[in-house]
């Protein structure tokens, strides 16, 4: 049995809409540094590969076309890159993967921010790139119109606006990677004899020209410890498999069955192959929402209570599993046969379910020989067995 990779998604008080009302939740603390450092410390004690930190450039809304005006759900959040940076010095091993919206931001700024996250975490930075189709988010920037309103359940893969937007994500990641490579690793020479601090032959203009932006380079920040921080993309379907396969190091897919898991793995692999990627294996993680308990009944009762508080059953974009850590371990191993390298788990209530993952699921997987018993690498790429990428600009 091969070893699984495990990530946990951090979002507010948890992913269930009523998570903040759980007696264990601390809903007044969601904007404090202590809240986030404690969560990530728990995840690190569980030897997890990484945490993702959700973000967005608008107030949380359950609608894509407009703010939902709800007052019964968590509203307000902190910048995820800054949250990851705040947590970095308090941890030593776990990967830190903030989300960032690339549609309204500058690749130059994000490139140096994530490079710096890699410095302050000594090689544990990643980034989850996300695009935004939300018109009300676009109005926070006032620079471009987004007239597209995705409808639930409609296949948007072929919509020209979606194709264009996803193409921009691919361009954006290309610029991030070129900027990370724009300094060769040994560019800083401090040569007292000639008075030169850097060797300008080892600094490179990236000269990217794309449909939505152009960037000259080089970066202002030297190449980060990992060479290139880990790029992660959430991919719900074929249009997004193209982005994940062409641009990401790790794809997170959202299957609802073993068959869908197999199709997703193949879909990402096909895109990766079509893009002729030569930078090592891509990894594909399955995304699952989890409610855990000591018994199946306890977990299902917890879910029922949360649903009752929310006033409706929890319906989300991924499969929801309510059960014991052992049952979850069975599911993870079962679907792994589809070629998934591991999972990102979305705890229903962070205060409760994250601990179930680290003290219940992890030991269970370890007993089965399916999860590490100690960190064997100190960088995020190292956790995935990925090499430090060669610099595309370095002379061979």
């Amino acid at each position: 049995m091969s070893q699984l990779h495990l990530a946990v998604g951090l979002e507010g008080a948890g992913w269930h809409p009523a998570a903040w009302r759980d007696p264990a939740a601390a809903p007044h603390d969601l904007l404090s540094a202590a809240y986030w450092t404690e969560l990530v410390a728990v995840a690190e004690r569980g030897l997890l590969d990484l945490v993702t930190i959700e973000d967005g450039l608008a107030l949380q809304s359950e609608r894509d076309d407009a703010p939902d005006g709800r007052t019964d759900r968590v509203r307000g959040r902190l910048d995820a890159v800054l949250t990851a940076a705040r947590v970095a010095p308090t941890t030593r091993h776990i990967g830190l993967v903030p989300s960032a919206t690339v549609t309204h931001t500058e690749p130059f700024h994000l490139s140096k921010a994530v490079a710096t996250l890699d410095y302050v975490s000594t090689g544990r930075a990643g980034l989850r790139v996300q695009a935004s189709l939300r018109p009300f988010e676009a109005r926070h920037f006032g620079r471009r119109e987004v007239s597209f309103v995705p409808r639930q359940g409609v296949d948007i893969a072929g919509d020209p606006l979606v194709v264009d937007l996803l193409g921009e994500v691919v361009d954006y990641v290309e610029v991030l990677r070129r900027l990370w490579d724009s300094w060769e690793d040994d560019a800083e020479i401090r040569d007292v004899a000639t008075g030169r601090f850097v060797d300008i032959e080892k600094l490179h203009y990236i000269d990217f020209e794309g449909k939505h932006f152009s960037v000259r380079g080089p970066s202002i920040t030297p190449r980060p410890p990992q060479g290139q921080p880990l790029v992660v993309a959430l991919a719900h379907g074929p249009a997004a498999y193209a982005v994940a396969g062409r641009a990401a190091d790790v794809a997170i897919v959202t299957p609802h069955s073993l068959e869908e898991a197999r199709a997703a793995v193949e879909g990402v692999a096909a895109e990766r192959s079509a893009a002729a990627r030569t930078d090592g294996p891509g990894h594909v993680l399955g995304d699952l929402a989890v409610v855990l308990g000591a018994t199946t009944a306890e977990a299902q009762d917890r879910l029922a209570r949360l649903d009752e508080l929310a006033g409706e059953p929890w319906s989300t974009d991924v499969d929801v599993i309510a059960g014991t850590p052992t049952e979850l371990a069975d599911r993870l191993q079962d679907w792994a046969s589809a070629g998934l390298d591991g999972y990102r788990l979305r705890p229903a209530v962070l205060a409760t379910d994250l601990a179930h993952i680290t003290t219940g699921l992890v030991p269970e997987l370890q007993r089965r020989g399916a999860f590490r018993t100690a960190y064997t690498a100190s960088t995020l790429r190292g956790h995935f067995g990925l090499p430090r990428p060669a610099n595309r600009y370095a002379a061979v």
Binding site: P23, V74, T83, E188, G195, V198
Partner: protein, 451 residues
């Protein structure tokens, strides 16, 4: 009670005053350097740590400038990480209002203020040049004369976003199920020539309400901007008489905006060299100047004013007798000094006269005309000088820029600070927890209007 001195620390950066060749010089990128520097500043009870900004590597004669330190980390990211290794030190970041958007910058500063429990500050700077713009989506889109207009409206807009949450919206009442008090929390709408944006801001009100605002420009427009809006000025007038003149000028402007004289702090950048005796410090200072201005650096400096290739000139010889090229295509790119030299021919004439009068070579002339150390002497002398400046209203304190990374502040913390504390002009413990409290600024009420 004597006036209390404010001190802050500027992480040495991308300029020829940072002596990277010093054997004590460490990394200017590795986080451990920032940790050492910040913890020293906090040990010395400084108000804050200050980071400058650069958005494109400088060039000269079409090549990346390689004689100075090159490269720096991202401001927001490194400040947020420093919040984890300090407890009270303020965290001031320089963020450009040209190549950013208000919604994103406001949420980054509000986040930093939350994550540091009220220690964030923003040094608002402007830019316009197409050279830097080549790294950004919209390129060099801003005409030079609009840069302050954009900066002002940027700040106004950011304040509207900071003030869009009043601070009492989060109920988080698990019993009733009400998380926020109103559906339109964070609602804002801004219509102006630079920004037309509307919606809901998604970071609730931060501990300080908004970051402390710094302003760095020295022009007439910059001074008015600061008097109307800033909490502190990062000025370049660290000489006594110039400092007093600037101090008086800016503080006199405050009344126009209905502000008291202590609502805006004047904090010049200052460099220092310490020795066991004054004579030893003077000798060290001379050696440091020689390290800061090598022969090559002197020629490159001269080229920035002359706007010509002067590489054939001997740095130990006389100044060129040709005049500066006054064309628009500057030989040096990404440098503020180029824009500040509005009449290079006149400056060149002055420099030539000075060199002739004192018999100075190119290198000696550049050492003479570029900033020498602000404070040189024994710890006692430096402590007395700093106190003299502050008591005489030449400043409210200083932002110290050491010439070695990251340990350049250590000696100051160990020797000068205790002397200032003995004199009763400097705190021995932090009295508050937020940067506004360290600076003695009034707490903000809700929704402060912008002048």
């Amino acid at each position: 009670m004597p006036k209390q001195i404010h001190l802050a620390a500027h992480f040495p950066g991308v300029n020829n005053t940072t002596v990277w060749s010093d054997p004590r010089g460490g990394s200017h990128i590795e986080f451990s350097s920032f940790v050492h520097f910040a913890q020293t500043a906090e040990r010395a009870k400084f108000d804050f740590l200050f980071l400058a900004e650069g958005l494109r590597l400088r060039e000269q004669a079409g090549k990346i400038y390689d004689l100075d330190v090159v490269g720096r980390p991202d401001t927001f990211t490194v400040l947020s990480a420093l919040a984890a290794v300090t407890e009270q030190l303020g965290l001031t970041g320089t963020i450009n209002s040209t190549f950013n958007e208000p919604y994103e910058v406001a949420r980054q500063f509000a986040s930093l203020d939350h994550l540091s429990a009220g220690r964030a500050a923003w040094n608002v700077v402007t830019s316009w040049d197409a050279f830097t713009g080549e790294n950004f989506r919209r390129g060099g889109f801003l005409p030079q004369d609009q840069r302050y207009a954009r900066a002002k409206e940027f700040l106004t807009t950011a304040f509207e976003l900071f003030d869009s949450w009043k601070g009492d919206e989060i109920a988080a009442d698990a019993g009733s199920g009400q998380f926020v008090s109103r559906p339109d929390v964070g609602a804002f709408s801004h219509e102006g020539p630079q920004f037309s944006i509307s919606g809901q801001f998604n970071v609730p009100r931060s501990p300080q309400g908004r970051p402390v605002i710094f302003q760095a420009g020295d022009s007439e427009e910059g001074r008015e901007f600061a008097a109307s809006t800033a909490d502190a000025i990062f000025s370049r007038h660290s000489e006594f008489e110039a400092g007093r003149a600037f101090y008086t000028d800016v503080k006199d402007r405050l009344a126009t905006y209905g502000r008291s004289r202590d609502s805006l702090l004047i904090l010049p950048a200052a460099t220092f060299v310490l020795g066991d005796t004054d004579a030893e410090a003077q000798e060290i200072a001379h050696q440091v100047r020689l390290q800061q201005v090598s022969g090559q650096t002197a020629i490159r400096f001269l080229e920035q004013l002359w706007n010509r290739d002067l590489s054939a000139y001997d740095p130990d010889g006389p100044l060129p007798d040709i005049d500066p090229d006054t064309g628009d295509d500057h030989i040096a790119k990404g440098r503020a000094s180029v824009r500040m030299n509005r009449d290079p021919v006149a400056v060149a004439r002055e420099w030539r006269a000075l060199a002739t009068e004192k018999g100075l070579s190119i290198r000696e002339l550049i050492i003479e005309v570029t900033g020498r150390q602000s404070f040189v002497g024994s710890p006692r002398t430096v402590a007395d000088e700093i106190d003299r400046f502050v008591q005489a209203d030449a400043s409210d304190g200083f932002i110290l820029v050491p010439h070695v990374t990251p340990g350049g502040l250590d000696g100051f913390a160990d020797t000068v600070v205790p002397l200032l504390q003995e004199k009763g002009v400097y705190r021995t413990e932090y009295e508050g927890t937020t940067l506004r409290e360290h600076l003695g600024l009034a707490a903000l009420g809700n929704a402060v209007p912008v002048g």
